[in-house]
């Protein structure tokens, strides 16, 4: 494994029954970069993320995260590896019975030996960072869709993970909030050296935050292009990539 690579995926194959969703998928994520995973609906973006974070076992190939092959890791090793991840799920996946602050404090309480008051201090700071300083004591059911996403990002950042996975962080948000979240991602990368993997459809966000992008095509069940967003937009000869970036018609 190249020292600067935090994730290495090789020849990944994922199938649901007889239906192959991903095949021969290989890519790297370099430490400190923002990598976006792009693709149409049903192209396997979220499925790919779920395999990289070890929630699903692939049918073939290897996934090395921080030097460890998680496809052959036992549950204890997998749990230890996952502590280096922060994950924001598409729906937010906040715990409905806990307040927003309690949601963010939960990993700190359970996985560190910090006293309660310090956990709360850190939780408040993380929520302030994502612009939810006033919603500390609200229940998730009281939050709007955008607020839920921001709270979920704050929870993903609770343990200051080395790698953060964000599944559609700007989907359904107004342009100002989406731009604020992009700024937040860039700031975290610049200041803490965090590596960020983002699944998104928002091209504005891709050009703002991404160092590199990989593009998945559901019809070809895999990655069809990898590169910087500008390179892909300006130089890719792949018709799918051209359509994706330039929104050309299929005619």
């Amino acid at each position: 494994m190249t020292p600067s690579n935090v994730i290495e995926v090789r020849d990944l194959r994922v199938a649901f029954g007889a239906k192959v969703v991903l095949k021969d998928v290989s890519f790297d994520v370099v430490a400190g970069e923002v990598l976006t995973i792009l693709g149409g609906s049903g192209s396997g973006k979220s499925t790919l993320i779920r395999h990289v974070i070890g929630l699903r076992e692939p049918q073939g190939g290897t996934i090395r995260v921080l030097g460890r092959d998680i496809t052959s890791a036992d549950p204890r090793e997998l749990a230890a590896a996952r502590r280096a991840f922060g994950v924001m799920y598409q729906s937010g996946a906040l715990f409905g019975s806990l307040s927003v602050l309690e949601n963010v404090c939960l990993p700190l309480r359970e996985l560190t030996d910090l006293p309660e008051s310090a956990c709360e201090w850190i939780g408040r700071l993380k929520l302030q960072l994502v612009g939810l300083g006033e919603a500390l004591h609200k229940q998730p059911a009281e939050l709007s869709g955008g607020m839920k996403k921001r709270a979920a990002i704050a929870r993903a950042l609770a343990l200051d993970p080395q790698i953060v996975f964000l599944d559609e962080p700007s989907a359904g948000l107004d342009p100002i909030t989406a731009s604020d979240i992009d700024d937040l991602i860039l700031q975290l990368v610049a200041s803490i050296g965090m590596t960020v993997v983002v699944v998104t459809h928002e091209l504005a966000s891709v050009f703002k935050i991404a160092d590199r992008a990989v593009i998945l095509d559901g019809a070809r069940q895999g990655i069809v292009a990898t590169g910087s967003p500008a390179e892909l937009r300006d130089h890719s000869e792949d018709p799918y990539v051209r359509r994706f970036f330039r929104r050309e018609s299929s005619q």
Partner: protein, 374 residues
């Protein structure tokens, strides 16, 4: 946070008294993994005496490390200053400082007073009672209207629900009915045999089953099995906005969802009760046979004790219990709130309310039957 094997990062700290005040010097790794130990060693007295935090010896510092430094500064009454952090970390420190300066003061919601809680619970109880009465009333009218215009009934749905409520419930009804008959007969035999009146166990079991236990136990099974399922199904539909979708089609959700379920329950309850009564009597008969009483003696005693009035009074109860259990199950589904626990709460409320209503209604039946001399 590196999960790879290797030495665990360490954080060293030293507290030194200098001319310019007490100094906390840090070296090593100030990260999420290490800050817990430092935080525990810095009690309020130590922190309030600090004037400087020196981070020049730090090799590594993450966001939570910086957050902890800012917490120490705040606990010192902002008398402590941070110096010597690497440039990149210093930028993050300034960013966090700015965020904290902008953070609003948010107080947690005050705990609700006991009197207010009791008041709200009481008001809620009456509102709920009113909703139940209104719902059962609307349901009864809806059912009578549907019976007057049978073509308006959604027969396919009703028959499917009848299969789920009735046919699928038959094995559990038969099992429990048999056991109830066996248990009743055994328990009754103990005192009655002492007086040489063992044969009258047949009278006791048959009367208890037909008038009381048959409809009651069937309704309890229906509540646990189908009332809860109705609440969960309709509750999930509400959470997923499927009820709103029905409303936007201009369809009456109650007529669409409730009537087939309630009609199925009302039709199937008496049938299930007959099965439970019969199998209960079989269980009791087997116990009597094992004690040396003949089958013909058992049947003769049963026929001498109960008549069709006993059977019909029990079946009428079963019909009403079916209406109540299915109605409350659907009502609790429609009352489902938001959040992941909402469907679970509705399901629990459906079962509890169903059983309370069954027993309350049984009390009313006891009074009315007594007054009518039934």
């Amino acid at each position: 946070m590196d999960p790879s094997p290797g030495p665990r990062p360490q954080l060293q700290h030293r507290i030194v008294d200098g001319d310019d005040g007490r100094r906390l010097s840090l070296s090593g790794h100030l990260t999420t993994q290490t800050i817990g130990g430092l935080r525990k060693q810095l009690d309020d007295t130590t922190v309030s005496s600090l004037r400087w935090i020196d981070g020049s010896g730090l090799e590594d510092c993450d966001g939570n490390g910086i957050a902890l430094l800012l917490e120490i500064v705040e606990r010192s009454g902002n008398q402590c200053q941070i110096q010597g952090l690497p440039e990149r970390t210093d930028r993050l420190l300034e960013e966090f400082r700015r965020e904290l300066a902008e953070a609003p003061e948010v107080e947690p919601p005050p705990p609700r007073s006991r009197i207010v809680a009791i008041g709200k619970a009481t008001a809620g109880l009456f509102q709920d009672l009113r909703a139940q009465v209104a719902f059962v009333g609307e349901l009864t009218i809806g059912m009578l209207r549907a019976l007057r215009h049978p073509t308006s009934i959604r027969w396919t749905d009703t028959l499917r629900q009848a299969e789920i409520v009735g046919v699928d419930a038959l094995p559990i009804v038969l099992l429990l009915g048999f056991l109830i008959g066996v248990i009743l007969a055994y328990q009754a035999l103990i005192p009655m045999e002492e007086f040489g009146a063992g044969i009258y166990v047949a009278n006791l079991v048959s009367l208890s089953l037909l008038r009381e236990l048959g409809p009651l136990m069937t309704a309890v099974i229906l509540s646990g099995r189908s009332g809860s399922a109705f609440a969960a199904e309709i509750g999930t539909m509400k959470v997923d906005e499927e009820l709103d979708a029905l409303a936007t089609f201009g369809l009456d959700a109650q007529g669409f969802l409730t009537l087939p379920r309630v009609m199925a329950a009302v039709f199937m309850m008496p049938i299930l009760t007959i099965f439970l009564n019969l199998i209960g009597l079989v269980g009791a008969a087997l116990v009597m046979l094992s004690k040396g009483f003949s089958t013909s003696a058992f049947i003769s005693q049963v026929l001498r004790q109960v008549d069709y009035i006993d059977l019909l009074s029990g079946l009428f109860k079963a019909l009403v219990f079916g209406l109540l259990v299915a109605g409350i199950g659907c009502l609790r589904g429609f009352q489902t709130g938001s959040g992941p626990s909402a469907v679970g709460v509705s399901t629990t409320r459906a079962v509890v309310s169903g059983i309370v209503l069954i027993i309350a209604a049984d009390g009313v039946f006891a009074f009315v039957y007594n007054a009518l001399g039934i």
